[in-house]
């Protein structure tokens, strides 16, 4: 088998705080094959966001290695796209200009016209056709998050990092966006890491779910979702999904220290 596109090996990281060193990651490992989509779940404050910054090259681990596409990550590279819980759109730009922002940084051979076409194509893909000239303040939370998603993939990044992008949305909008994600992945294949607190979201979107332990976090449990590619919302209500949900919930309880580890060791 080929080498995974994202490979994280034995990463340790600690933050310097006023009360001393605060270790957040301790022996984390993660491997995502090309075209794979891994969800990372874990208790609050277990260092999930630190993980995204490590993959993006915004942070250097104290120990261990992060590899992207067979290359050791030493600093930020333009092959990464990011989206956060806060859509962080630039209020002084139109939606189209916001989506085109990464193309102003990443060197591309595209002409201005081609860039615009690309951005418009993505906006149509996520259902924002006709909103390209609006300002972010004129859009709803879900629409802003869609635009943020377009911006994250406009430069065709090899790796898409999603840090709880749907966490602040209401339940219906969230389910809408889950389906949008599958539509986007079908048309614009990417290798992705999704940080989330929502186990249903992880089961619906990812093909592999990684449970992190409490802080300092290591990889505690990895679940293969078996199902690849697009799926319906009904998929969440099959007995198989219910079983997976139960296992994940137990794992989170262990990570939180609310259940003993040996009880569910299988």
């Amino acid at each position: 088998m080929d080498r995974p596109l994202i490979e994280i090996k034995g990463v340790r990281h600690a933050y310097q705080t006023q009360s001393g060193r605060l270790p957040v990651l301790d022996g984390l490992k993660l491997a995502v094959p090309e075209g794979g989509f891994s969800a990372v779940v874990g208790p609050s404050g277990c260092g999930k966001s630190t993980l995204t910054r490590l993959i993006a090259g915004l942070l250097k681990p104290d120990e261990g290695e992060v590899w992207l596409h067979g290359e050791l990550v030493k600093g930020p590279k333009s092959i990464v796209g990011m989206a956060f819980q806060n859509p962080v759109l630039l209020e002084w730009r139109t939606i189209l200009q916001n989506v085109m922002l990464p193309l102003e940084i990443v060197s591309t051979k595209m002409s201005r016209h081609e860039r615009e076409d690309r951005a418009l194509h993505l906006l149509a893909l996520v259902g924002l056709e006709g909103f390209e000239d609006k300002r972010p303040s004129e859009l709803s939370g879900g629409m802003r998050q869609r635009a943020s998603l377009c911006r994250a993939i406009v430069h065709k990044p090899e790796v898409l990092i999603l840090d709880e992008p749907f966490a602040a949305l209401d339940a219906f909008t969230r389910e809408d966006l889950w389906q949008t994600m599958h539509a986007v992945k079908a048309e614009e294949p990417f290798t992705g890491v999704l940080i989330t607190h929502d186990l249903r979201e992880a089961i619906f979107l990812a093909d592999e779910i990684v449970v992190l332990s409490g802080r300092p976090a290591c990889t505690q449990y990895v679940m293969d979702v078996h199902l690849k590619g697009p799926r319906d919302i009904e998929h969440l209500y099959t007995p198989k999904s219910a079983d997976a949900l139960n296992i994940l919930r137990r794992q989170i309880q262990i990570a939180q220290g609310r259940a003993p580890a040996e009880e569910v060791a299988q």
Binding site: R53, A56, G57, L58, G75, P76, K77, S78, V80, G81, M82, F84, N86, V88, L90, E91, W92, L101, P102, E104, I105, V106, R135, S137, E138, R151, H155, I161
Partner: protein, 253 residues
């Protein structure tokens, strides 16, 4: 802009003037106690050329002081906003300096650079007005959410690119808020110096002349002229804000 947006403030000014006139008339105050608006026109007319000449002096000195305040205030704000160490180092100094009444700085400056009327006046206008600009820019920059930075940083953008494309435009609303405060402060600075300096020019000097010759309507006329110039400059800033930071204004819902 609708006619209402123009008519309402003008109506307020007229009502204010009428109320003032009435107050003076009811109390029977002579004009050496309190001039009424009807006393001001003769004063304006009598000294119309001086008003034009000195008004221009005051205006350009104030604007020059403001430009200096914007340049140095933004520069200081950038340093403090982008560097934690510089923020810790400079804030006490700036706050301390700003707490000093500028009226006490005026004679110091006047003695330091004797006879340099223009420079002294501009200097005081600058000293009194750069503080809000420096503070607002530094707050705007230091409160930038890390995600904004990460979006460009993860693409390998330089610090300058991030500053230019995100941090700077995002700080503009705060900057213009501070500039509105700075405009009125700068006028105070200019006039402090113009009033104190002997053989000076500008509306402050005209005020002083009115005081010496006990021409009370003239003194009031100067104050009104200053108020009008303050309003004028304020709306220039508002217009600039509309152009450069109009996006921050939400459409009424």
């Amino acid at each position: 802009m609708t006619w209402k947006q123009i008519a309402v403030p003008i109506a307020a000014l007229v009502i204010f003037g009428l109320f003032w006139e009435l107050l003076v008339w009811v109390n029977g105050w002579p004009n050496y106690k309190m001039a009424s608006p009807s006393d001001l026109w003769p004063a304006f007319w009598k000294f119309r050329w001086l008003f034009l000449e000195y008004g221009w002096d005051t205006l350009w000195r104030t604007v020059a002081g403001l430009v200096l305040a914007v340049v140095l205030g933004v520069f200081l704000g950038m340093i403090m906003g982008l560097s934690r160490v510089m923020r810790d180092a400079l804030y006490p100094l700036l706050v301390g300096f700003n707490a000093i009444p500028k009226a006490t700085v005026v004679p110091i400056i006047a003695l330091l650079f004797v006879g340099q009327h223009d420079m002294n006046t501009i200097l005081i206008a600058f000293l009194i007005s750069f503080f809000p600009i420096a503070v607002s820019v530094s707050i705007g920059l230091s409160t930038l959410e890390p995600e904004y930075r990460d979006i460009l940083a993860s693409l390998g953008a330089s610090r300058f690119t991030i500053f230019w494309k995100i941090a700077l435009p995002k700080t503009l609303p705060e900057f213009f808020g501070a500039l509105k405060v700075a405009v009125t402060l700068a006028f105070i600075g200019t006039n402090l110096m113009e009033i104190v300096e002997p053989h000076g020019r500008g509306l402050g000097h005209l005020f002083d002349s009115g005081k010496i010759s006990a021409d009370y309507p003239l003194m009031f006329a100067v104050l009104i002229a200053l108020a009008l110039m303050g309003i004028l400059l304020y709306y220039v800033v508002v217009a600039m804000e509309k152009v450069f930071a109009g996006w921050a204004e939400r459409a009424p819902t």
